[in-house]
């Protein structure tokens, strides 16, 4: 049978880290994506430019390079700010950027750019007449967003969202490189210690496939829910 040489609990812990990291980054990415999408659709020239720059640069640079830039550079940058605060205002604070936060911020930033594109397309797919009808009923802008635009947008955004989530999930493996003890790191340490890379890497691969399959099923259910009133999904 499968012999994990006592690494089983740590591997499970690592899987927990991976899941937490993925879910938190997803949350950040969705928020950033919504902001980016609205910035791109706004008539404000400056907001449009900034959002375009953000999505272009982020999508043109490897995830790992961004992660290292943020993790290695982030600490120095934060130190510079806290030093400056100390000399100027005598405020003594120390902020330590740990691997987990660096990971969540980087992955969130990267996928915020992809989500922005997904949401923009989805918002534009909502029929203008729907929004006008909402306004004609006397709904405020925020109410129109909450009751009309958002639910209908989600129907169009879900396939892209599910795609992004699958890629995001796989990207979390990179945090092992900057030192976070996710399941990939545990597996790689265990492989070196026991000289049995196949056992550990295959276990981790199976966990990834498992998470992917479960989320596929969840997304299919969500899609069904958001498709209510539209018959079968096309």
């Amino acid at each position: 049978m499968l012999d994990l040489h006592g690494y089983g609990p740590r591997l499970l812990e690592g899987a927990g880290v991976t899941l937490q990291l993925a879910l938190l980054s997803l949350l950040l990415a969705v928020v950033l994506g919504l902001i980016t999408a609205s910035a791109k659709m706004s008539r404000n020239w400056f907001a449009h430019r900034i959002a375009t720059l953000y999505t272009t640069v982020i999508r043109g640079v490897p995830d790992l390079v961004l992660m290292m830039l943020l993790f290695f550079g982030g600490q120095i940058g934060v130190n510079m700010i806290t030093d400056w605060l100390y000399y100027q205002f005598d405020i003594d604070i120390f902020i330590n950027i740990n691997e987990f936060i660096a990971g969540v911020v980087t992955i969130g930033l990267i996928f915020g750019a992809y989500m922005g594109e997904t949401f923009r397309g989805a918002f534009m797919a909502v029929d203008n007449g729907q929004i006008e009808a909402g306004k004609a009923y006397g709904m405020s802008n925020s109410l129109v967003f909450r009751r009309v635009r958002f639910p209908q947008m989600m129907r169009h955004a879900l396939p892209g969202l599910s795609n992004n989530w699958m890629v995001l999930l796989k990207t979390t493996a990179l945090v092992s490189v900057i030192g976070l003890s996710d399941m990939v790191r545990v597996a790689s340490e265990a492989s070196k210690a026991t000289r049995e890379p196949f056992t550990f890497m295959i276990v981790v691969a199976i966990i990834y496939l498992l998470i992917a399959s479960v989320s596929e099923w969840l997304f299919a259910r969500l899609q069904k829910r958001y498709n209510i009133g539209y018959g079968e999904a096309d």
């Binding site: 640069v57 999508r59 043109g60 640079v61 490897p62 995830d63 790992l64 390079v65 961004l66 290292m68 830039l69 290695f72 550079g73 120095i76 940058g77 699958m166 796989k170 990207t171 979390t172 493996a173 990179l174 092992s176 490189v177 990939v184 597996a187 790689s188 492989s191 070196k192 000289r195 049995e196 890379p197 196949f198 890497m201 295959i202 981790v204 691969a205 990834y208 496939l209 992917a212």
Partner: protein, 243 residues
């Protein structure tokens, strides 16, 4: 060339990080990255064509293994695949004594194998989608001309599927370029490896990583431009007619 080097040296004279030496590190890294990406893409592309055709086969024993292969390689992180092949090869007992070790000692080869297997899986699915979306009329027309299924595949389906797959394949090329940064994890001195070296040497994360990010950005734009140009040429018949 000589004068160019001296000119460059004077230009960089009061720069403590970007000396000729570090620039040559980046240069070597660029070569490694381009080699790694180009080779894996070419081999992956060649492998993907028969795999994509086999994926649509009527025989279960051809269809299902290919499906399992693409499912696993697309569903797990590339880093895991790289570790599996890299460590997997190194830790095989007695491999150090065989002739294979001469090739496998260099981490470039395991990385190339991992990248090739990964991109082949993605490319197979891209082609599969393109083949599936061939319009029925084209195939019926080929049949009506008396073409055998094999000839139809070669003359009708594959050429048009190639063209329809082009935009998605362009994305895959960019994805591969970005994924290749992972090679630095197994001690390969690619672009990211060079940046990590410069960072460690001078403790200058912004300079080291922003510079390499700019190079990657340029490469990405070059690929985008190349594919846009190719699409314009090869997909001209699909563009809306004007005038």
């Amino acid at each position: 060339m000589e004068s160019l080097l001296t000119w460059l040296e004077t230009q960089l004279a009061d720069n403590s990080i970007f000396t000729l030496q570090t620039l040559s590190h980046y240069g070597a890294g660029l070569t490694t990255t381009v080699q790694l990406v180009f080779l894996s893409l070419i081999i992956g592309l060649i492998a993907a064509v028969p795999l994509a055709i086999g994926r649509g086969s009527r025989h279960a024993w051809i269809k299902w293994p290919i499906f399992a292969y693409t499912y696993v390689f697309r569903g797990t992180p590339l880093l895991i695949q790289l570790y599996l092949i890299y460590y997997g090869v190194v830790f095989v007992d007695g491999i150090q004594e065989t002739w294979l070790w001469v090739i496998l000692e260099d981490p470039f080869v395991p990385a190339l194998i991992a990248f090739t297997l990964n991109t082949a899986a993605y490319t197979t699915e891209i082609f599969r989608g393109a083949i599936k979306s061939t319009s029925k009329g084209e195939i019926e027309a080929a049949r009506a001309y008396g073409m055998s299924p094999r000839l139809t595949m070669r003359r009708i389906i594959i050429p048009s599927a190639f063209r329809r797959a082009l935009p998605a394949y362009g994305n895959e090329v960019i994805f591969m370029l970005h994924a290749s940064a992972i090679a630095s994890v197994v001690t390969i001195m690619d672009l990211t490896g060079a940046a990590r070296f410069v960072y460690a040497r001078y403790y200058a994360p912004f300079e080291a990583f922003l510079f390499v990010a700019a190079i990657y950005l340029c490469l990405t734009f070059a690929i985008l431009y190349f594919f846009r140009h190719l699409e314009k040429k090869l997909l001209a018949h699909l563009q809306p007619q004007t005038g």
